[in-house]
Symmetry: C2
DNA sequence: GACTCATTGTACCGTTCGGTACAGTGTGGG
DNA sequence: CCCACACTGTACCGAACGGTACAATGAGTC
C-alpha cells in the first residue's frame, strides 16, 4: 500500500537516507497547524510523513506529546535564528526590526499560514506546553522591546510598542484566515512599520 | 448516577423546566473554547451540561457540528446585541465605540477568556464554519469602520483603523493566554482607545 | 384515568484513537 | 561474510470516539 519514495535504487552516494529530522518536523508541524493538537491523529501524521507508527514511535518514543514538543522547539529555533537574532544586532536596531518583519512575513507566507504556537496557546493543549509557549512569545516581545529601546524609544514605551506589534501580528493571522484574505496580513505589517517608525517602501 | 438538579420538588410555578437553550449553549461554548472543535468530545459536553447523549441528540439532531453552529450563532447574536449595536448608534459614534470596547472587555473577562470563533478560524474546523466566521469578523470590522467614519475619520483610514483594532483584540487574547497575564489585554484595550481617539480614564 | 409528547438513560454500533510488541529488513562496519 | 543495529510494517490492545435505536419516564391536557 505505502509507496516507498526513496529506495535509493542502485545509486552510489548511498549515505543512509538519514530521516532528515528537520524535514520530518516540518511536515508534522503542518499537520498540527491544520488540525490542532487534539485533531492531529497519528494516522494523519503517518499519512503526511509516509511513516508508519513503528517509525514514528522510533523517532518519538513519547508519542504525540513528544512530537508536539519537538515541533515547537523546532519552530522556536527557526525564530531564534531568523527573527530574534536580527533584533539582537546592537549596531542597527532599525535594520534588525525590518529584518524581523521580513522574516515574519516570509514565515507566515504573508498570512496564508497560521502560527502553530499561537493556536496551541488558545485551547487546553496550552497547559501541556505552557513553558515553551510563554518562552516563545516572551522572547519575541523582549527582543523587540530591546531593539526599540536601542533605536531611541523610552523603555516603557518600547515595551508597549513591542507587545502591540507582536499582538498585531497574531491578530492579523487570525483575521487573515477568518476572512481568507492574505492581503490583510500585509496591511498589518505595513501599519506596524509605520508605528515603529520604519520607512515603508510602497 | 447522574444527579437530577431541578426536580422541581413540589413547587408551584411549575412551568416546564424549559431546558434553557441559552444557558445550554453557554456551557457547550465553554467546552469548545477549552478543547477546540475536535477536542470537544460528546462525553465532555455531556459531562459539562449534565445531559446524556439521548438529550444532546434530541436538542441537536445534527450532532457536534450542529452544536458548534448553534454556539457560534449564539455568540454572534450576543455580539450583535452588545458589541455591534452600539457601533450603529448614529448620534454618538465615539460613545458607541467606547461601549463596544467595554462590552468586549466584559465578554472576554479582561483576557481570561478566549475568542471561540477566532480559535475556530485557525485550524481545519474553519472550513466547516467559514461563512459564520467570516461574517462575525467582517461585521465587527465593518460596523467599527462605519462608526469611525461617522466620528470624523476618512473612510479609508477608518477601515484600516477598524481592522487594526479588531486584530489587536484577537492578538491580545492570544498573547494574554500565552503569557497567562490578564493585564496584557487591558493594556491592549487602552492602546486601542488611544489610537482611535477616545479619552482614556486612568 | 388515558393520551401525548418532550425528554431522558442505556445499550449498542462500527470506527478510530494513542500506544505497544515484535518480527522482519537492509545497510554499514568489522 | 557476518554481525549489530537503525529502521519499518503489521498485528494487536483497551479505550474512547461520534452516532443510533429505543424503551422508559413523567408532566400537561382533556
Amino acid at each position: 500500500m505505502t509507496i516507498r519514495v526513496c529506495r535509493n535504487s542502485g545509486f552510489r552516494p548511498l549515505r543512509r537516507i538519514a530521516p532528515d529530522r528537520d524535514q520530518l518536523l516540518g511536515i508534522i508541524a503542518e499537520v498540527f497547524r491544520e488540525h490542532g493538537y487534539e485533531g492531529a491523529s497519528l494516522a494523519l501524521i503517518g499519512e503526511a510523513t509516509g511513516l508508519g507508527k513503528g517509525s514514528l514511535y522510533h523517532f518519538f518514543p513519547g508519542g504525540k506529546e513528544e512530537m508536539a514538543r519537538a515541533v515547537i522547539a523546532h519552530i522556536d529555533g527557526w525564530f531564534e535564528d531568523h527573527v530574534f537574532a536580527p533584533l539582537r544586532d546592537g549596531n542597527d536596531p532599525r535594520g534588525g526590526i525590518e529584518q524581523m518583519l521580513a522574516a515574519t512575513d516570509s514565515y507566515f507566507r504573508s498570512g496564508r499560514r497560521v502560527c502553530l504556537i499561537g493556536a496551541f496557546a488558545l485551547d487546553r493543549s496550552r497547559d501541556l506546553f505552557a513553558g515553551q509557549i510563554r518562552g516563545y512569545f516572551g522572547r519575541w516581545v523582549m527582543h523587540l522591546a530591546n531593539a526599540l529601546t536601542r533605536s531611541g524609544h523610552r523603555s516603557t514605551e518600547a515595551a508597549e510598542l513591542a507587545e502591540e506589534a507582536v499582538a498585531a501580528i497574531q491578530g492579523a493571522l487570525t483575521l487573515a484566515r477568518a476572512a481568507n484574505d492574505a492581503d490583510l496580513f500585509s496591511r498589518a505589517l505595513r501599519r506596524i512599520r509605520k508605528h515603529i517608525g520604519i520607512p515603508v517602501s510602497g
